[in-house]
């Protein structure tokens, strides 16, 4: 199997990784960098549990080949808080009670952060639309939507 040497930034630190050609970004994060906060819910681009920011854009990391990430800037759930300070969306999802089992939460928070980055004051519909690719079986979504609204207000 062919290996590729890639250099990329993950949560602000530079990493050099040798990856097989068929390895996904999700596998690389979880298996090579031990960043297990990013979850695998389907490995088919259908659930959003694996969402990370790639060069500022939310992507399903199970659908991106690691070999294509040379030079990329990746932010995972582990990189959302800075110096122990939670991101505002992490705080508001706690306050609004938008976490139950927590398996969708990392992907959900990354999608929410991406939305707030490109649209600091989203309307309710825009929030629901932005989170459509992130499935949650526990919460019923409304508390997560409220958390994004609350984050938009304080940020």
């Amino acid at each position: 199997m062919s290996f590729h040497r890639i250099i990329l930034t993950v949560n602000g630190s530079t990493e050099q990784v040798d990856v097989p050609g068929n390895m996904t970004l999700l596998q690389m994060l979880r298996e090579k960098l031990a960043l297990t906060g990013t979850k695998n819910g389907c490995a088919a681009g259908e659930c959003g549990a694996c969402t990370v920011l790639m060069n500022g854009e939310p992507v399903n990391s199970c659908m991106v080949l690691a070999a294509e990430c040379n030079g990329a800037d990746i932010i995972t759930i582990e990189g959302l808080a800075r110096d122990g300070q939670l991101d505002v969306i992490q705080k508001t999802i706690i306050e609004q009670g938008g976490v139950q089992c927590g398996f969708c939460t990392p992907g959900m928070l990354i999608s929410a952060r991406a939305l707030l980055n490109r649209n600091p004051h989203p309307k309710e519909e825009e929030i629901r639309e932005a989170l459509v690719g992130n499935l949650c079986r526990c919460t019923g979504y409304n508390r997560i939507v409220s958390a994004v609204k609350a984050a938009a207000e304080v940020q």
């Binding site: 906060g37 706690i94 139950q100 969708c104 079986r137 019923g140």
Partner: protein, 785 residues
């Protein structure tokens, strides 16, 4: 710090919405789920060879090519594991032997150094089958024409509350006979008779099943599993592999959603079986999303033939419910679902004459297992719609009709048990009021029809009569408290509720109490299973008892040191106080090191550990022929759900304007977590009502992906979802609490179907209530052209 020495018992921990104890780790990605546990380079990857046939004899399995593939460490088949297993009815093997009974059944297992090689090895296994005619409908399956799925049923083992009928496909026939139904129909002023069909649906936790097993050279087995039942799994795997329980340790990290599918044993025995042949290597088995859809526990399909009748004033006189459960190829868990569906088969209605037949039928479909309130969504879909039809027929307002007929304290329910105190009428009133019941409101557009619907429910924890809980409480030098339990945090918030109960019973601040996983059968105290909405009540009692035990030990120590009576002492906010002398002492240090006697004369006390347990001792059996008994279940949680919606005449699409749920939880330990359960449960119920169906064609699932099996997304959910808490205390619940985890999705299908009928005048009785079905029904009825 001084504590006011008053005996006021104002609580600061119960009925208070404390923050979840597990939330920070979940928002930072630090929370460890089973798939996140690291095993290093020795890890092997397991895959299963699965049956492409719904029903077939296995003529030959050739594993030689798979074994020869470089990188393959183990290949096993049913030949290697001859014991049957199963939670209630022991009817299945770890790998099929001789015969396969559903598409996706595991016939062989492989472990290799990588997933790719394991997949290749699976492809190299050759299996020769002789296809058999299949059973794909439970009514047909129960008939004498159907081929037998388990010809040897009579030789299986089952507990005394399950009633299989050997020589048929019926693996449990549960009956209720109360009064005389057959002669009552002619006395009725109105009778409704209807057959309802509920399709198979899937649980769809976002975390797929995953389990890792490791066996050391002394034969000690460790299993890490995403599990609702670490103790039940230890027990079942021990039996099926002839290993003593003492040699099996199950470690269960946080669960990424289960809803029942991670209870009992399904895929978890496979990595254990393989690891026995690869000692020293951890063996990881993780289901793909596709496998998650069709190879594991599903919610059984149901065909319910219902007949209900009432007198001219709307008093129920007769209720008959014949249920054919599509149990699938194995019904080890399904038999108890059928039983629960049977003893609650009247719904929450008081009726003098009841006849229920609840039949668990073997079919060649995926295996039925527990799904959130098992049996109850299915039962209520039919019975509550039938009541809606009956109310209309007799010309009564639905709310009035429901209130006239729901069970009340003191009623003899269908099994002869006397109903306890319940807030169901208050739930009906509050839910109805919240959607302005009885007020006709305008449509938002000319092409919309608006309607309202209401549904009631009840559900008892469905479990063996003696399902038990236990807890340990340990105090630390800094006066912090560690609560050890065997019940699992599955998202419902049980770790938080247990911390609140412990804090309250012990008299310490909530913040000082720690409840954390993983659950580990080697160190955690026993818990039957995290199912049945039983933890708050059952484990809550055990935790409270453990806290009271620790409290007694602390007070005994301080009473001796101070020369006082225990009755004059109390623990508040982490201090022992005396009401008599107004003295106080912090728990710090004394709960570990004890208290010195004066003048260096020695010490009193020692490290404080409290223990407690709880097990219901009063549940009786039910007669095989009549289903009658003193007390069939521990209690019923009841509730009501009401929806206000619009139907689009052009598309058949529904828009839910408002959905309100009211449940009697006895006492909400943490109101916000209760509301979160109710809201999330409503959405799961709504999703199953509108979108979900496993499309099975001759036993093959046609839609095993998120694209083809749609679940509700953020865009599908109504903005207005309201949760109302009603509290009629449970006499043996901790602080009066009873469970609420499963109930919120139980009445939802019926509530929506009733509202759609109210809007359009057309009944779409069988879920999913898809836009297409609604539109076609309106077309049929001439409402749209």
């Amino acid at each position: 710090m001084t504590i006011a020495p008053t005996k006021d018992k104002a609580t600061t921990n119960i009925g208070v919405s404390k923050p979840r104890v597990d939330v920070r780790e979940k928002v930072t990605g630090a929370a460890i789920f089973t798939d996140d546990v690291q095993f290093g380079a020795g890890l092997l990857h397991a895959r299963a060879k699965r049956s492409p046939y719904a029903h077939a004899l296995i003529k030959r399995i050739d594993i030689s090519k798979a074994k020869a593939l470089p990188g393959v460490k183990v290949v096993v088949t049913g030949e290697d594991f001859p014991n049957r297993t199963g939670l209630y009815l022991r009817d299945r093997f770890i790998f099929a032997r001789d015969r396969v009974r559903f598409v996706g059944e595991a016939v062989a297992g492989v472990a290799a150094v990588s997933e790719e090689i394991a997949d290749k090895a699976v492809d190299l296994i050759e299996v020769e089958y002789e296809p058999l005619p299949g059973v794909h409908d439970p009514v047909y399956g129960a008939s004498s024409e159907a081929p037998l799925v388990h010809p040897d049923l009579g030789s299986y083992e089952w507990p005394n509350f399950i009633f299989p009928v050997p020589g048929t496909n019926i693996s449990n026939h549960f009956k209720v006979r109360k009064g005389d139904v057959d002669s009552v129909w002619e006395k009725c002023a109105a009778v409704v008779e209807y057959t309802f069909r509920v399709p198979h649906v899937q649980h769809v936790p976002i975390e797929p099943h995953v389990a890792i097993a490791k066996v050391d050279d002394e034969g000690n087995v460790t299993l890490w599993a995403s599990s609702q039942s670490p103790f039940a799994q230890r027990n079942l795997i021990a039996k099926s592999l002839d290993i003593p329980e003492s040699k099996i340790r199950v470690i269960a990290p946080l669960i990424g959603g289960g809803f029942g599918c991670k209870a009992g044993v399904t895929m978890e025995a496979i990595p254990v079986a393989i690891a026995l042949k690869a000692k020293g290597h951890p063996v990881k088995f993780r289901l793909t999303r596709e496998e998650e859809f069709y190879t594991n526990f599903v919610r059984q399909g149901l065909v319910a033939q219902i007949k209900v009748g009432c007198d001219k004033d709307g008093n129920l006189l007769g209720l008959q419910n014949t249920m054919y459960w599509d149990g699938g190829g194995y019904t080890d868990y399904g038999v108890n679902i059928t039983r629960a569906g049977g003893y609650s088969g009247s719904g929450p209605f008081d009726c003098p004459n009841v006849k229920v037949d609840s039949l668990c039928v073997y079919t060649n479909h995926p295996v039925g297992g527990a799904y959130r309130g098992f049996g109850m969504s299915e039962v209520h879909t039919g019975i509550v719609q039938a009541m809606d039809m009956l109310a209309e027929k007799i010309g009564m307002d639905r709310v009035e009709f429901l209130k006239k007929n729901v069970v009340q304290e003191g009623d003899k329910i269908l099994t002869g048990m006397t109903m306890h105190k319940t807030g169901i009428k208050e739930c009906i009133d509050k839910a109805a009021q919240a959607i302005n019941w009885g007020v006709k409101e305008p449509n938002s557009a000319p092409n919309k029809l608006r309607g309202k619907g209401i549904a009631v429910m009840w559900k008892a924890p469905a479990m063996p009569p003696n399902a038990g809980s236990s807890a340990l409480i340990k105090l630390n030098e800094d006066a912090s408290v560690t609560v050890m339990i065997g019940g699992q945090e599955i998202g419902q918030g049980t770790f938080t509720a247990m911390a609140q109960i412990a804090a309250e019973a012990l008299g310490v601040p909530f913040e000082s109490v720690k409840v954390k996983g993983p659950i580990d059968t080697q160190y955690s105290p026993y818990e039957w299973q995290t199912v049945a909405s039983r933890l708050t009540w059952s484990m809550g009692n055990a935790v409270r008892n453990a806290a009271l035990d620790a409290r007694r030990r602390i007070l005994d120590m301080v009473a001796e040191a101070w020369g006082e009576n225990v009755e004059d002492l109390d623990i508040k906010d982490g201090y022992v106080i005396s009401y008599k002398t107004e003295e106080s002492i912090s728990l710090k240090n004394i709960v570990v090191y004890g208290i010195p006697k004066p003048n260096d004369e020695g010490w009193i006390g020692g490290p404080v550990v409290g223990s407690g347990n709880f097990m219901p001792t009063y549940v009786t059996g039910l007669d095989k022929e009549t289903g009658q008994g003193e007390r069939a279940v521990v209690h019923y949680t009841t509730g009501a759900q009401a929806v206000d919606l619009e139907v689009d005449l052009d598309t058949g699409q529904i828009t839910i304007l408002k959905a309100v749920s009211a449940f009697d939880v006895g006492k909400a330990i943490n109101p916000d977590l209760v509301r979160a359960q109710i809201e999330g449960g409503f959405v799961q119920g709504m999703s199953s009502a509108i979108f979900e169906e496993m499309k099975l064609v001759n036993g093959h699932m046609q839609n095993p992906s998120f694209v083809d099996y749609r679940i509700a997304t953020s865009a599908d959910v109504p903005e207005k979802i309201e949760a109302i808490i009603v509290e009629a205390p449970q006499d043996d619940g901790p602080f009066g609490a009873r469970g609420i985890g499963e109930h919120p999705m139980v009445p939802t299908i019926a509530a929506l179907a009733n509202a759609i009928y109210n809007a359009t005048g057309v009944r779409v009785p069988h879920p999913p209530l898809s836009a297409e079905k609604i539109y076609l029904a309106m077309l049929d009825a001439g409402i749209v052209k």
